[in-house]
């Protein structure tokens, strides 16, 4: 590779190449849109990859019903602005049963995210799904291929992945099998923010510091987002200047105290951070291998 391309241009080109390869080789790709900063960058790259055409695949959001209101608003505004088709998939049965993050812990994530995702992929017959996972995020993600093969049961076998060489991807598969594809594999968290700054991309306002009502649970700051939030006896929300480094379902995503109200503030804060990005994701703490386990079962 030539060093003459700047670092971000090189990452951008690499991601664009991945998008195009999937569009050329797969029958029915779908873009898993999770609304956060990584999805925002990935969507921008997809727009670049196919310009002046629109990306030749729909977006899909797995809505657990527990996303922040600001995320849903941002999602709807984004697809309207770009004129892209959006599928919103929900585990309706789980919702009817009232599965929620307060009472059902790890099972909630499994039912409302992993199972909802698998069911939606199957229902629509998608054979390739783009996800915004990065290898610097987490140990089991550091191990995953760019084109990550899934069996007909949508399972990942980390001990027996397809070898992958250069940027020569193998997109072939039999009916029922599928691929999870990660165009941001080689991006770091800093690259993402740097790119958002350079390309002037809009992001969900929750990333910026604001005064929000919070309670402290197991050392984590949980924002009291709506009336469904259950307060323990005697627990009184406090107003604090907080922001999010990573966005998921609100009762399971911790905020941290911060006064970073602009993109440069966020990057400056990140440069001196001493905790990792997913530190605020409570679902990762279930047990040590939780990400690998979830991934094997079909979680992104």
């Amino acid at each position: 590779m030539s060093d003459r391309l700047s670092h971000l241009k090189r990452l951008e080109s690499e991601s664009i190449r991945i998008f195009r390869e999937v569009a050329a080789e797969c029958r029915a790709p779908v873009f898993l849109y999770s609304i956060g900063k990584d999805s925002t960058v990935m969507l921008h790259l997809a727009m670049k990859a196919f310009f002046p055409s629109k990306p030749p695949f729909p977006l899909m959001h797995i809505d657990t019903g527990w996303k922040f209101r600001e995320m849903i608003e941002f999602r709807d505004a984004t697809v309207a602005r770009l004129g892209l088709p959006l599928i919103v998939a929900t585990n309706a049965e789980g919702r009817r049963q009232g599965i929620n993050p307060f009472d059902h812990g790890g099972y909630y994530t499994h039912a409302m995210k992993t199972e909802a995702l698998k069911a939606a992929l199957k229902q629509h017959g998608f054979d390739a799904a783009f996800g915004g996972a990065r290898r610097d995020e987490e140990k089991s993600r550091a191990k995953e291929r760019v084109f990550s093969f899934r069996t007909a049961a949508q399972e990942w076998d980390p001990k027996n992945q397809r070898p992958e060489f250069w940027q020569l991807y193998n997109g072939r598969m039999n009916p029922g099998e599928s691929l999870r594809v990660f165009p941001l594999s080689n991006w770091t968290e800093l690259d993402i923010w740097h790119y958002i700054m350079l390309e002037k991309l809009d992001i969900v306002p929750l990333y910026f510091a604001a005064v929000r009502p919070v309670v402290v649970r197991d050392g984590s700051l949980i924002v009291v987002h709506d009336e469904r939030m259950r307060l323990d006896p005697g627990e009184v929300p406090e107003q604090k200047l907080v922001r999010f480094r990573s966005l998921g379902c609100y009762p399971l995503t911790a905020a941290h105290e911060s006064d970073a109200a602009t993109l440069p503030d966020i990057v400056a804060e990140m440069l001196v951070a001493r905790t990792s990005e997913r530190g605020g994701r409570l679902i990762d703490r279930d047990d040590k291998d939780s990400m690998e386990k979830k991934k094997r079962e079909g979680y992104f």
Binding site: S13, P158, D191, T275, S276
Partner: protein, 634 residues
């Protein structure tokens, strides 16, 4: 990860700092070597000493070290990179893990690769995108087979820079003599592998000697620390200086007024107004625009993903290669290459695979294994087949000519993978050595009377009906009846029967898997010659392997090859046993007997599925009916 050490002041203004970061180059490297040479530990140590491990990660690591660690009370850095449950349990690395770190001089992506031979393909995966390899050696062990295997594979995959980390130097008393001995042994072993630089560093990954700074415990060593070397080594390739090539990845047609060719520039650069040639067709046009979402570009160079429009309407599709007309790309359907075989299933010459090179996927096969390369001695040895992790020099033949260059000149047009036709697994990786220009290879004799003319004279369309099924299924019986019926209708036919062909054309072949592949290949070629002569050919071969029948099918035009599955259950075949073969196979007198001691892979979508619910006469009628339906006969 990209956090800076906590005490480092953030430069102001921030944008200046980020702009400077953006200017910092990237080095991708891998760590490799034998099991337990300390690869994961070295990466952990690099991340730790450059203060790039977050507090919560470090806390988890301390906990894990107590649970799984192999370093007593110390932190076990290997657990930082061994991310899979099975890896931590077994204390080994199974698959490649990628880690990211940045210093103020460079950013790095490091691939930590497994040392076990069993996982060589994962190691090769990690090596393919690296610019440099850190080869670790346990100073107590010296150069091992796996050290040589990894060095060889990284050289094949295009890596030109090696750091030899003579690790665990503390365990040999920081011995200069031992270090020199290993360095010389290694240098001698790899002298033919074409590395541009080779730097040996005495090291203790566990204690950090010579990792980020030069250690006082090796006063006799006057070279750089590992990190200093990684920050300063020049690994630039000259892709940008080479002639322009861009494989077309995707044709962009949003409307009738726009037709763009999307792809990543493999080498050279391009500007609007430049002439380009389409490699296979030789058609030429001029670049009109370089289109991106951010506006048209005046110039684009190697590595950039772009969309090009041309001044003329010419036929271009995915898989074509746009190139500078002054230095055209060779187009070939035969080439020599080095391959690494990655599958637990044996490679047989003649078996058909998908060859993916650039953005093109075509059928092809290894026609000849020129030699296998012994990993230990690097000597050439003769081989008829290849097993997993074998490295060999082979000749390949494709069903269509493609643009191809030497791997050392152009990775994108010289690196390829082999894909299994049935499982779609990536079973081999190859690097093109020499490509023969298709036109200078075998010049096809231009047949003045073509096959259509020959067939038309016979009042039929030529075709091959390929009867497959178990021994005793009734293939020959049905084929003979079809032959008689067609003859009675005045059609021109010929029968190729497995048993008969084995007495002549294929008398040199046995029943091993390799010989069966060759048996079918010859049968298919013979059938094709007869089809070219305008005949309806009835081929009756057990042909147990799907991939071989698929390879046979590819020798024909679409609609010319009909697979007829004579689907008789094995119990019925055994009951019939017309030649007494099952009885002998059951006694162990015949080896590799299909259905008994060798597999039969039933067709998934045969054109004709002939079940035993009818007499042979009725089955033959059904075949004739199908030929009518397909207008092969009137």
């Amino acid at each position: 990860m990209n956090a800076m050490p906590p005490l480092a002041p953030v430069p102001s203004p921030l944008e200046t700092f980020l702009a400077q970061q953006e200017g910092i180059g990237l080095l991708r490297f891998l760590t490799c070597g034998s099991v337990d040479d300390g690869k994961s530990t070295l990466i952990g140590r690099l991340l730790y000493d450059t203060k790039l491990i977050f507090d919560d990660t470090l806390a988890t690591l301390a906990r894990d070290s107590v649970k799984h660690g192999t370093t007593g009370d110390d932190i076990d850095f290997a657990l930082l990179v061994d991310g899979l449950e099975a890896e931590r349990e077994q204390g080994i690395t199974i698959d490649v893990a990628y880690r990211f770190f940045t210093t103020d001089k460079r950013r790095f992506i490091v691939a930590d690769t497994p040392g076990h031979e069993q996982y060589t393909r994962n190691m090769a995966t990690g090596a393919s995108n690296a610019d440099l390899a850190v080869v670790l050696i346990d100073a107590r062990q010296g150069v091992l087979t796996q050290t040589k295997r990894h060095s060889f594979i990284v050289s094949l995959l295009g890596i030109r820079h090696i750091v030899l980390a003579v690790n665990k130097i503390d365990l040999v008393g920081f011995s200069e003599a031992r270090f020199n001995q290993i360095r010389e042994e290694y240098a001698a072993a790899v002298q033919h592998l074409g590395f541009k630089t080779l730097t040996a560093i005495p090291m203790s990954a566990r204690y950090g000697d010579n990792v980020i700074s030069v250690s006082e415990r090796t006063p006799w060593y006057d070279g750089p620390s590992l990190l200093h070397l990684l920050e300063t080594i020049d690994v630039d390739s000259d892709t940008a200086a080479r002639p322009f090539r861009m494989p077309v990845q995707w044709v962009n047609r949003p409307n009738l007024d726009f037709r763009g060719y999307a792809g990543t520039i493999a080498s050279g650069s391009i500007r609007p107004g430049d002439r380009v040639t389409v490699a296979a067709s030789g058609r030429t046009s001029t670049i009109a625009r370089i289109v991106t979402l951010d506006g048209d570009l005046d110039e684009a160079g190697a590595g950039r993903a772009v969309t090009l429009t041309l001044a003329d309407q010419i036929d271009i599709s995915r898989g074509d290669v746009l190139a500078a007309p002054t230095e055209p790309v060779p187009v070939a359907d035969k080439f020599d290459a080095q391959i690494v075989w990655l599958s637990e299933h044996t490679l047989f010459p003649g078996r058909s695979y998908i060859v993916k090179l650039g953005t093109r996927s075509v059928s092809g096969s290894v026609t000849r294994i020129r030699h296998r390369i012994d990993i230990n001695s690097f000597e050439n040895v003769a081989a008829d087949t290849l097993e997993m992790n074998d490295v060999a020099a082979v000749s390949l033949s494709l069903t269509a000519p493609i643009a191809v260059e030497r791997f050392t000149e152009n990775r994108d047009l010289g690196g390829f993978i082999l894909i299994d036709r049935l499982t779609n697994a990536t079973v081999g990786v190859g690097m093109v050595e020499t490509a023969a220009q298709a036109s200078t290879n075998i010049v096809w004799h231009d047949l003045a009377v073509d096959r259509e003319a020959r067939a038309a004279m016979k009042g039929q369309r030529p075709a091959a009906i390929w009867f497959t099924g178990l021994s005793g299924a009734g293939k020959s019986t049905v084929a003979n009846l079809v032959d008689r019926k067609l003859h009675a209708l005045g059609r021109h036919t010929f029968i190729l029967d497995g048993d008969n062909v084995r007495h002549g054309l294929n008398r040199d072949l046995g029943f091993t898997e390799a010989d069966r592949v060759e048996n079918i290949r010859r049968a298919a070629e013979a059938a094709r010659l007869l089809v070219d002569a305008g005949l309806i050919v009835l081929v009756s071969f057990i042909s147990p392997y799907r991939s071989d029948r698929e390879a046979a099918r590819e020798r024909f035009e679409p609609g010319e090859f009909l697979e007829a599955f004579v689907d008789t259950p094995i119990d019925e075949c055994r009951r019939r046993d017309p030649k007494g073969l099952y009885a002998r196979a059951d006694q162990g007198l015949i080896r590799n007997f299909t259905g008994v001691s060798a597999p039969y892979e039933a067709p998934e979508n045969p054109e004709l599925h002939l079940r035993t619910d009818a007499t042979a006469e009725e089955l033959a009628d059904r075949v004739v009916e199908e030929l009518r339906r397909r207008a092969i006969i009137a």
